[in-house]
Symmetry: C2
Subunit: 177 residues, 2 copies
């Protein structure tokens, strides 16, 4: 353990637009394999495919959008008749949530690949209302402030949701133009 994750400086967290996304999808899938192996969890073809679809989207994607894409691709390896149904996707997403491979964005009813799947955390998000991108940050000051409050009040924290919506740097510049 104890290897410090690279902390994105400034607007690098919103680098989405121009980067090699295939690479980062592959990386995420690789990481997922590793984690599931370690946890004794089964990253089945279906779950893997759902994870890939979530990552490919790169912005938060709704369960029914995942479903639609799953249907287009033909579920998993099965090239049979019927299209996949909602529970298929929800179950896969629940699995991925459980192992911290995706996060759910409550304010959007949508899911996004977790940027730091090795750590146990809930994610903090900056969500651009224009381009839809959600940047995951993990700031100790925010976590600490929340933890301090909970402690003061005697509240036992289970899960923390931090979602900030607004305008990302790029869309902000565009708006000025």
């Amino acid at each position: 353990m104890a290897h410090t994750p690279p902390i994105p400086e400034g607007s690098e967290v919103f680098e989405a637009a121009g980067h090699d996304h295939d690479h980062c999808v592959d990386h995420a899938l690789q990481a997922a394999e590793t984690i599931c192996t370690r946890e004794g969890a089964r990253l089945t073809p279906l779950r893997r495919q759902v994870l890939e679809l979530v990552w490919r989207s790169h912005e938060p994607i709704g369960a029914y959008d995942v479903l639609a894409r799953l249907q287009r691709e033909g579920a998993s390896d099965a090239e049979d008749g019927r299209p996949a149904a909602p529970p298929t996707v929800y179950r896969a997403l629940d699995f991925l949530l459980k192992y911290g491979l995706v996060h759910r964005i409550e304010s959007l009813n949508a899911y996004v690949g977790c940027a730091h799947p090795q750590e146990d955390h809930n994610g903090q998000f900056l969500i651009c209302r224009t381009c839809g991108t959600a940047a995951e940050i993990e700031d100790d000051a925010i976590s600490a402030a929340i933890r301090d409050n909970a402690k003061r009040i005697g509240f036992a924290v289970d899960r923390v949701t931090v979602e900030v919506s607004g305008l990302c740097p790029r869309c902000r510049s565009d708006a000025h133009a």
Copy 2:
């Protein structure tokens, strides 16, 4: 039943169980009148009734629960035939959200009366998974930490959602018993 546990410091925010709730509903309605007058907004009987229903619940309440109670009470002063329909409630809730009289809890798809309606803020919530109570806090350290991050990244903040779920002091004590 367990005996009354020692109440930890700071648990006033979770005072819900024992207090004079009628009083605090009245107070909230009074404050709402004041704010709407100041803002030139119309707190119609329907909107007032919805606000009252949200407050009466004292824990976050779903739109359809509000609707059901509205129907039971007979919508507003109209004692006519048909029961109210969903848009009626959603529109009233939208109005109340707009003027900061209620907050929406994203992680519950539910609404709760705002504890500090005069100030412009988004609310930060500690939500007990056992008793369902949502305590609204307003902590500058949390706000500041989020603001700092946004600034560093160049993100223009619009709306901040902070929802912490877990166990409130009371339920925590009960769980130990």
